[in-house]
């Protein structure tokens, strides 16, 4: 058996198996539970990293479940049968790596963070289900399974948001998330059903090869853009996300950041690969830019006035999702215009992909730092914190790395990705870099506020006993901090080996179609 051929199956199978076996592992005691939790998360990360390496150089991994053979995408006698198809190119691999790394960091962190609480028999299965759902969204090659994996991730998200069911706020946040998310899920199912009704297929590659530009296709595109933008937290559909980020356990929030990225992956895949003719016309590009710009500016404005550290980070997630939408909107517009603008479009897409990874790791780390503060102080209120840098030097240092990274402070990684996005955005409209700079300044201002309020100043009498987070939590945070520093120190390597391949894979829909139709 060639392990490389089965990597896509391992990627989803490992967290799913982890989910089903978790209740058994929990019943064997704390040590077995912790080892099991970290081991399965590590195996998932290993599969994600291996997929990233396997897609270097333009390879596309295809895996079929339910066919005569795992490599047989077009079995004889069945034109376009409904079955589980995974299709992973370098573009999808970027998001898979982000999800699996965040899942591992969150698991390491949660081992200590969740130790004080009961309910592990619910926590671990839901955590792995959330991981499997997000990975499946990035790996699947058909629309129906995208819907299924999105629902898997959503249902796990509701459960984990309302995990502390003795807290009314958590239950309310979980309910709101569920309520709005189910409306979105129905619209996604209607869109998928409409495609199946007309084309007798849900395979993304096949759909891309036959897609027309009629009224039905426009309605379907509108529904899919709306649903995926909602799930990635775009303004004005972001409101459920900040509540969920505030109430979910911090290890989970780190993962929720990448779940929103998985939706972003779906949005970009649909616009660039399945509906390139409709999306390339200019309207979709401007739509993404407007939604992205509003998310950026309103998200960060709301972050500045928050006093609850996790809610503040939640609004930052909205703001960062705005950068990604803007980058992909600029890419669509510039590539569609032609006339020498293609270079700007490509740079914007690469910058957007770079920023997607920065966002995953930096915001994930910021949520873990918030969790570390909550663990030490028992409060999320910034007004009740102060002087914690003396007692929690590692948390303070890692907070600085993450905040500087995502604010785009030179020489950190965020500066490079933002420069690429807004250097290209200037060619589309000069207001875009101006908005980006204002957003970055406000982001930095809100992080300065958090650092000043939580870490600086004289120590509070009530927090004199606060201690640094345990080693497990520091290890989870440290993993993300190391990844941020690697992105900071070697952006050229990441660009040349990861983001270049990913952007080129996205802009070669014909290869994606060929792989789905049986050619490698």
């Amino acid at each position: 058996m060639n392990v490389r051929d089965h990597l896509p199956a391992f990627l989803v199978m490992v967290p799913l198996l982890g989910s089903f076996l978790s209740p058994v592992a929990v019943s064997f005691g704390k040590t077995v539970r912790n080892v099991f939790f970290v081991a399965f998360a590590a195996l998932t990360l290993l599969a994600g990293a291996a997929i990233c390496v396997a897609t270097f150089g333009g390879n596309i991994l295809v895996y079929v479940m339910g066919g005569e053979s795992f490599a047989l995408t077009m079995p004889s006698g069945m034109s376009y049968p409904v079955r589980i198809l995974f299709e992973i190119d370098a573009f999808g691999a970027v998001f898979i790596f982000c999800v699996s790394a965040a899942a591992f960091a969150g698991a390491l962190f949660s081992v200590n963070y969740m130790e004080r609480f009961s309910g592990w028999k619910r926590f671990m299965p839901l955590y792995f289900l959330l991981t499997a759902g997000a990975l499946g969204m990035c790996a699947t090659g058909d629309m129906f399974n995208f819907f299924v994996f999105a629902e898997l991730a959503s249902i796990a998200s509701f459960g984990l948001t309302a995990f502390w069911r003795d807290k009314p706020e958590a239950v309310e946040a979980g309910f709101k998330y569920m309520f709005v998310s189910q409306i979105a899920a129905m619209l996604l199912l209607i869109a998928t059903g409409a495609l199946y009704g007309k084309y007798n297929a849900v395979n993304m590659g096949f759909l891309a090869s036959v897609m027309e530009s009629g009224t039905m296709e426009r309605v379907v595109l509108a529904l899919i853009i709306s649903v995926t933008a909602f799930r990635c937290g775009a303004f004005p559909m972001h409101t459920h996300m900040t509540d969920a980020c505030a109430e979910a356990p911090c290890g989970v929030t780190c993962l929720l950041v990448t779940v929103s990225q998985a939706s972003f992956y779906g949005l970009v895949r649909v616009c660039y690969s399945i509906f390139p003719n409709l999306a390339g016309g200019g309207t979709v590009g401007w739509l993404l830019i407007v939604m992205g710009s509003m998310s950026m500016i309103f998200g960060v404005m709301m972050a500045v006035i928050q006093h609850d550290i996790k809610r503040l980070m939640g609004y930052h997630s909205v703001s960062q999702a705005g950068y990604l939408l803007t980058a992909m909107g600029v890419g669509l517009l510039a590539l569609g215009r032609g006339g020498g603008m293609e270079g700007y479009g490509l740079a914007s897409i690469k910058g957007g992909l770079f920023h997607a990874m920065n966002y995953s790791f930096c915001n994930g780390l910021l949520f873990l730092c918030a969790g570390s503060l909550y663990y030490a102080t028992g409060t999320r209120g910034l007004d009740k914190m102060g002087g914690l840098a003396r007692n929690m030097p590692w948390t303070a240092a890692m907070f600085v790395v993450a905040a500087a990274g995502i604010s785009g402070l030179p020489p950190f990684n965020g500066f490079v990705s933002k420069w690429m996005i807004f250097g290209s955005g200037f060619a589309v409209h000069p207001i875009l870099p101006a908005l980006g700079m204002v957003t970055s300044v406000l982001a930095l201002a809100s992080f300065v506020k958090v650092f000043q309020a939580a870490f600086l100043g004289p120590p509070r009498a009530k927090l004199i006993a606060a201690r640094e987070a345990p080693y497990g939590m520091l290890a989870g945070m440290g993993l993300l901090a190391v990844l941020i520093l690697l992105l900071t120190l070697f952006p050229g390597w990441f660009m040349g080996n990861v983001f270049d391949n990913a952007a080129e894979a996205l802009l070669r829909p014909q290869d994606y179609i060929r792989a789905a139709m049986g050619g490698r």
């Binding site: 404005m301 006093h307 490509l346 910034l382 102060g386 250097g423 004289p458 390597w493 660009m495 040349g496």
Partner: protein, 120 residues
């Protein structure tokens, strides 16, 4: 766009990026800072009253033992900014009212607007 290996710089089309240039820059600036600092007063003595905390007008034993009485809370940050933009923030706060039916409404209306934009 060119990338010259792991340690090299990255051409972006509007200049180039090399993080190690920044480190060189910080090293040079740090050298200047230390050089200027060497011109400062040399009469500092450890473990004297010069080491006592001075905070917001309090000095020495006047500084409250509990930082909560001495520090500005996080909610006081950017007070002027918040007041200047109060009309905008009032709208934004009303928008984030916590009502699930309103949240669903935002989603449905946005979906309808996107549909109209793409159809016409």
């Amino acid at each position: 766009m060119e990338h010259t290996g792991m340690w090299g710089h990255m051409e972006t089309g509007s200049g180039y990026w090399n993080v190690f240039m920044w480190f060189v820059f910080f090293a040079i600036v740090s050298g200047f800072v230390l050089w200027f600092r060497s011109f400062g007063r040399m009469d500092y003595k450890r473990n004297t009253e010069q080491d006592e905390m001075f905070l917001s007008g309090w000095s020495g034993s006047e500084v409250p033992a509990d930082g909560a009485k001495a520090a500005a809370p996080g909610s006081a940050s950017y007070w002027g900014f918040n007041v200047a933009l109060e009309p905008v923030y009032n709208v934004l706060k009303r928008f984030h009212n916590g009502s699930a039916s309103d949240y669903a409404g935002y989603f449905v209306v946005t979906t309808a607007l996107i549909g109209i934009l793409l159809l016409f």
